[in-house]
Symmetry: C2
Subunit: 219 residues, 2 copies
């Protein structure tokens, strides 16, 4: 039997499979995604996916891990600890929003992973470490702001982070049903800008002391 000529590049092959899987899983969820579609899109024999990743779910796990880890790396690169508290917070809100916008797969993938009760990342040491640092950065920022008398005391960094990310995540993940529920386009450029501004305002009003808010209103 004459086989097609081979071009070998294991690293590229793995990357192509991961990239195709990310798109397919993001688009259809774990249950709806098709291994054949992934292979076709990756321009790879399906067998190679089993060779490098084992099975469909293991591939899914690797996709989730990669996506989360890219997100945290980007956030860490912001170096918000080098800016004054309010600017740092604004920057973080804007970054988070922008990242969601530019990486729509992140959102549907996280939703899929939650549908499966996070079982694919439950034991990832790497992710746990990345995320511990992430919470720590917010804790430090809140403390810095409180010491400066700008932020309220003893705010829970986890609650703030959830509200901060949720203001963007929830808007974007539910924008399809949202447009029906709220009877309005939510993804026009103006609507996006308005949401970022509103969410920034929400977080600032939540975190800043009332005195600080008065000051900023400039009355």
């Amino acid at each position: 039997m004459a086989f097609e000529k081979q071009i070998r590049d294991p690293e590229q092959t793995k990357l192509r499979i991961l990239a195709a899987a990310k798109v397919e899983f993001a688009q259809k969820g774990l249950g709806g995604a098709r291994v054949d579609v992934i292979a076709t899109r990756a321009k790879v024999q399906k067998r190679m996916m089993y060779h490098y990743f084992g099975n469909k779910e293991a591939l899914f796990a690797r996709v989730i891990e990669a996506v989360y880890s890219d997100f945290r790396d980007a956030e860490a690169a912001l170096e918000i600890e080098k800016q004054e508290p309010i600017a740092a917070l604004q920057k973080l809100v804007a970054f988070t929003w922008q990242y969601y916008l530019e990486n729509p797969e992140l959102i549907t993938l996280i939703n899929s992973e939650n549908l499966h009760k996070a079982k694919h990342i439950k034991n990832s040491q790497a992710l746990q470490k990345l995320n511990r640092r992430f919470v720590e950065r917010m804790r430090a920022l809140l403390e810095r702001g409180a010491t400066a008398g700008i932020f309220r005391n003893s705010l829970d960094p986890v609650q703030v982070l959830i509200t901060l990310s949720g203001g963007g995540f929830h808007y974007l993940t539910n924008h399809h049903t949202g447009e029906i529920v709220y009877g309005r386009k939510l993804m026009t450029r103006q609507a996006q800008a308005a949401r970022l501004q509103f969410n920034t305002e929400t977080v600032l009003r939540l975190v800043c002391t009332t005195e600080q808010l008065l000051k900023m209103e400039g009355t």
Copy 2:
């Protein structure tokens, strides 16, 4: 051929299929759900599902519609328009949170529907009507509060609603990955209570005038 004895009850049969479908779709998503599982759980011949609903996706659409409509009905029954603005807002935040907690399928079903770009409810007149009233109630509440000098002027009711629901929805939909990300249990009774309080605070700080906030701090 001797057939099993029949007990006929078309209404009950439809309801049993819907209830079983709600559980299965909520648990596995549209792509992961299995028609056979739904039939078995409903204790109904699979053929009946096709008889009453046409096909898998049409059944999914009916489930989504029912779930949304139940939610809005419950919210409307609150009659927040009969209470003073701050109490009304607190009641709405608490109700929304409680409803999500008691109806966890709602959350995963909405996520599923969004994964499919809301195509199953896009043309539902009934839902659009329900939701228009829902936004209108918030608009009226905000106006009432502003007139009383308690709430800030010209707040966008849609933005407020998204933030209000998102504070609960986002927390709950992502609580599985959240526990890993934040390294903390998020679904203990205490954690739940803390989240409701935090979200109530977030919304109040967002909506109330700064003067009103100062007053409530009682300084």
